[in-house]
Amino acid sequence: MTDTRADAAKRSRWALLQATLATQRRNLTIATLIGLLWMCGKVAVPWLVGIGIDQGIEADDRVWLWAGLVAAAGIASGVFTAFRRYYAFREARWTETQLRERLFGHILRLHIGYHDRSQTGQLMSRSSSDLQQIQAFVVMIPITLSNLAMVISVTVILALTNPLLTLVALAPLPLVNFAGRRFSSSIHPAVQAVQQEQAELATVVEETVSGVRVIKGFGAESVQSAKLEVEADDIRRVSIDAAKIRAKYLPAIELLPQIGLIGVLGVGGLQVIDGTLTLGELVSFNIYVSLLVAPLRMLGMTIAWGQRAAAAIERINDVLDTVPLISDPGNPTVLPTRQSNSALGAVRFDGVDFGYDDDLRVLKNFNLELAAGQSIALVGGTGSGKSTVARLLIRFYDADAGSITIDGVPIGDLALHELRRAVGVVFEDTLLFGDSVAANIAFADPAASHDAIERAARLAGAHDFIMGLPDAYDTQLGERGYSLSGGQRQRIAIARAILADPRILVLDDATSAVDPSKEHEIRSAMSTVMDGRTTIVIAHRPGTIALADTVALVDEGRVIATGTHDHLLATDARYREVLAAMSDADRAAAGPTGLGRS
């Protein structure tokens, strides 16, 4: 599978960029045309200067006319310089913008199995630094085209005027291009080495700051300082290595054209003495040589950038070519709607097999049946598979065998949107978005009224603390906003699920981060929400078990016993064992009321 993907990437390496650029064809053409006008202005200047010297200064003939023409050509090339730059950058930014949106949309649609395997940082750099590389390359497209046009036309003009002098003047210039390419390819690894060392220093700083209690406790400051000094020395060393590469190439690139200028002075000077060249032509040769330096230097860089952009495109293609494994069925069925007085939300797991990896089964012939409105607590040890049940129910993963149905409809036949709206999950770890409290609660329905939001918050026992926040429901949360305690976050998550009003609710250890003294408040909130709603409680603590009507004991991927808490407690030895382990963990984590951790 990886092989086919690699092949596809190779085939479509440029196809993606071509397709994106195709939509910008008109503006890119305009940019290139402007570039050609720019080229005309630039090329005219040295020619007019030459005539100005010969006619205006040497022959004293209408010197201000020639000066005026030079100025006019200068203004034209200035105007077109600005426009060329503007169009080139604008189009490149637009390419970047479009690609980033495509990438983001695709990442959000990718199956959770993909996200389990990929690192956030990797995906982030696809949509930031990789797109930067592409952007830098797209800028160069119209600019390089007009630069090339300029190089060719200047060479032709010069060759027509004086072939020998052209050869002398331009001979060193290809070396500029060559040195530019060599420079780009040798500075790149050096820069990467610097970044690598910087990352290593960052690791030392990071572990020091996070482990400051240990360091202070043992007075180990000098150990960390010694580590940091090593890293700081390394950074200096590799940075100076990089500087040596710059020192080698940059002055050479800068000075190579001077060789052409010297040649023009020597050979051209003799020609002027012979009378085969005018002084004005000599000067315009001189200016033409300087004119070609920047474009040639850029051509060298464009090639290096093109290579880097190609690598970036390949990495982006890898993401875009990944087909979401979980997607809508071709002809989605809809869930039955409420008819007269029959309740909704029956769930059935029938002979479900599942493993995250091929060689490790997490669920084995898992069977579970819930009538509409029934609540059940899944109890089991670590690794029993109980948390996986919720992930299969909302199709984060597809079961390897067996069937899962909601109200008789196999979940694979439902549109993902409908399935996930029907099942509300309160996750173990609560994620809040960088938005207001209200928006975080109204996550399922951004158009929800303030009353609905407040009602959900009240039910989740969150209203009171929300009113105590600086801007109440408008308080900004998330990384850059106000930070809430674990229990508060949990209650926001519950409110979020309440507002979604799903026909099936899944609570995964929803109280683990809650202060013990608040736990009963949340439990009562939860039992209000669960009332009459099909609920699966994934219980990690004894207290939560009481919320559900019945208990299913999960062990090694199967339900091994079902019944009420009291019944299982009386009849099942394994249940007592799991419960005892759970109580231990519970007590260690928080202690009985009042003896919590501080």
């Binding site: 010197v63 100025a71 090339s77 426009f83 950074i235 000077g269 002084l279 109580s583 501080s598």
Partner: protein, 592 residues
């Protein structure tokens, strides 16, 4: 968008503050004075050499070409070759010297700031988010790298080029200098406007990049919640909004900067045109030679690029000054836990008398008038509810903070009067979680005593009965623990953490009992390790488990910052107060 004004304020210094920062940086760079001077010397040489080009051309035209003297022309060509060779050599040297100085300066800055951060007390780390401290040490210092690598050099060479050119122009012809003076003001005014606008645009772009990245990150890390609530379309729409915002700010920045490049380009050519016009007039009046007019023309062509470079440098200089200012802010923070002068005795009682504590900038007391004497060799369990202050009391006993009232002494010496070194040898805190650093198991144990040999490390591991477990690894105690110790289990991490304490062999042990759950097998080993570590040492343990509490000699119950009860298990039960209530709540929660 309230974030934006904060960022601008933080990142923009007024001219006075910027000057002060620069002066201070210059003082700090004093050790590199000679290197910097050499760099400037080479830069001056390079610049002068580059300016010689037009002068040599003038000489060649006026003395070689015009009088048809090919020998003089040859001399000019040879002189040109010599000058270019010298320029190449000095130009290489300028890069090397400026980088040597600059990277040396950054290295010094890294080491100093880090050393200073480490000198701060825990209170400092409570106040400053870890992300901010890491950013100071990385992004802020790295933001200066660009300046160091080529910025300073470009700045100096552009400034020198402008000055030298002006002088050269005056020498060549004062009349033609007017040409430069006619065009320069336009460029100067334009570049000031460019600086202002592009700086604002730069900040705007940076702000947009930041919020775009955080929307992106939120989308990726929150993908499970987003998919569970079927919010993909809405989230994509929100991302598009921020993405388009970023695009618009890029466009704005383009608009305010692009005209400037055109203007510089046009001005350069207009200056040449003026040189031809005025030069032609002067040549024909016989005031200047053709060679001079041409030399001025060529000089002017070189003059406009540095101006453009200087304006582009402006943003780099500004953000570097802002970064330096933040770093100096850290260097200016005086550590609030200072070293004393006395050595602590080998053993003694820990006496807490009338201790009060409050965190800086808060009103409520965390601890209030607490007095306890822990006898030499005694084991004291500290219990209390969440937020009662029991952990703070433990931290004060190890002088991770200083009490705001009262004193804590060991063997009669106030902890504040003791040297930090002797304090760390006598009193050791073992944190709840086994925090591991990058490196091997041995490196991690050695955190406690840098000069310990491998045998010392083995002995420490052996003392807590954990040596066998680690020797089983292929590379034994030299096994890399990987990032944050991910190679080891939670229990093994705790063992390493306990071995650190054993390596120090302190008189007093302060334990914050681990609350995380371990698998039963490891649990036994860790408990055994703890027990052998405590041995007959004076131990203060912040306890969460009944078993630990019952094994203590005495129990201190902290309630709302006060010492509520103190005594043995039986005494406190008999007292029928806080502890009795806690104990009965505990008993009733045991599984049936």
């Amino acid at each position: 968008m309230w974030g934006m004004s904060a960022i601008e304020e933080e990142d923009r210094l007024d001219a006075d503050a910027a000057k002060q920062v620069m002066r201070r940086a210059a003082r700090m760079a004093a050790p590199f004075k000679r290197t910097v001077l050499s760099a400037i010397g080479f830069t001056a040489m390079t610049t002068l050499g580059l300016l010689m080009g037009p002068v040599i051309v003038r000489y060649g035209i006026d003395n070689g070409i015009k009088p048809a003297d090919s020998a003089t022309l040859r001399t000019a060509v040879i002189a040109y070759i010599v000058v270019v060779s010298i320029v190449y050599v000095s130009s290489r040297q300028q890069y090397i010297f400026i980088n040597r100085a600059g990277e040396g300066f950054l290295r010094l800055l890294r080491i100093r700031v880090f050393g200073h951060i480490q000198k701060q007390s825990l209170a400092f780390f409570d106040r400053n988010k870890s992300g901010v401290l890491v950013a100071r040490m990385t992004a802020d210092i790295e933001s200066m790298a660009e300046l160091v690598q080529w910025g300073l050099l470009q700045f100096v060479s552009a400034a020198l080029l402008l000055t030298f050119s002006f002088i050269l122009l005056l020498v060549l012809s004062w009349q033609l200098t007017i040409v430069a003076l006619l065009v320069m003001p336009v460029i100067v005014i334009a570049s000031r406007k460019f600086q202002r606008d592009s700086n604002a645009a730069y900040l705007d772009v940076r702000d947009n990049v930041g919020s775009n990245l955080s929307t992106l990150q939120e989308g990726i890390t929150g993908v499970r919640v987003i998919q569970a609530y079927a919010r993909e379309p809405e989230q994509t729409r929100r991302f598009e909004e921020s993405n388009r915002g970023l695009f618009r700010s890029h466009l704005y920045s383009l608009r305010v900067s692009t005209w400037f490049f055109g203007l510089v380009e046009a001005s350069g050519v207009i200056a040449s045109a003026l040189a031809i016009g005025i030069g032609g007039w002067l040549v024909n009046r016989g005031d200047v030679s053709v060679g001079t007019a041409i030399a001025v023309l060529l000089l002017l062509a070189q003059l406009f690029e540095p101006v453009q470079q200087l304006s582009q440098l402006y943003n780099t200089v500004q953000s570097s000054t802002a970064a330096l200012d933040k770093l100096f802010g850290i260097l200016d923070t005086t550590p609030d836990v200072l070293d004393g002068e006395l050595a602590l005795p080998a053993s003694g009682a820990v006496v807490v008398s009338a201790v009060g504590f409050r965190y800086p900038e808060t009103k409520s007391l965390v601890l209030d008038d607490v007095s306890i004497t822990v006898a030499n060799g005694e084991r004291l369990a500290v219990v209390g509810a969440t937020g009662s202050g029991k952990s703070t009391l433990a931290k004060l006993m190890a002088r991770l903070y200083d009490p705001t009232a009262g004193t804590i002494t060991f063997g009669g010496v106030d902890l504040r009067d003791a040297t930090i070194d002797s304090l760390r040898q006598r009193v050791v805190v073992v944190p709840q979680e086994g925090f591991l650093f990058g490196g091997t198991i041995a490196d991690n144990v050695r955190v406690a005593r840098a000069d310990a040999s491998d045998d010392d490390v083995r002995a420490a591991l052996d003392a807590i009965g954990a040596l066998d477990r680690f020797e089983q690894f292929e590379e034994g105690i030299h096994t890399e623990v990987r990032e944050r110790g991910s190679r080891l289990s939670a229990g093994e991490r705790q063992l390493v953490s306990l071995a650190r304490a054993a390596l120090v062999d302190p008189a007093v042990l302060v334990l914050d009992e681990a609350t995380s759950n371990l698998d039963p097998g490891t649990e036994v080993i860790v408990e055994h390790a703890l027990e052998s570590l405590m041995g007959s040492r004076t131990t203060i343990v912040v306890a969460h488990r009944l078993s630990t509490i019952r094994r203590a000699d005495r129990i201190a119950v902290i309630d709302a910052g006060k010492l509520a009860e103190l005594g043995t298990h039986d005494e406190l039960l008999a007292l029928g107060g806080h502890y009795a209530r806690l104990a009965s709540a505990w008993a009733s929660s045991q599984p049936n």
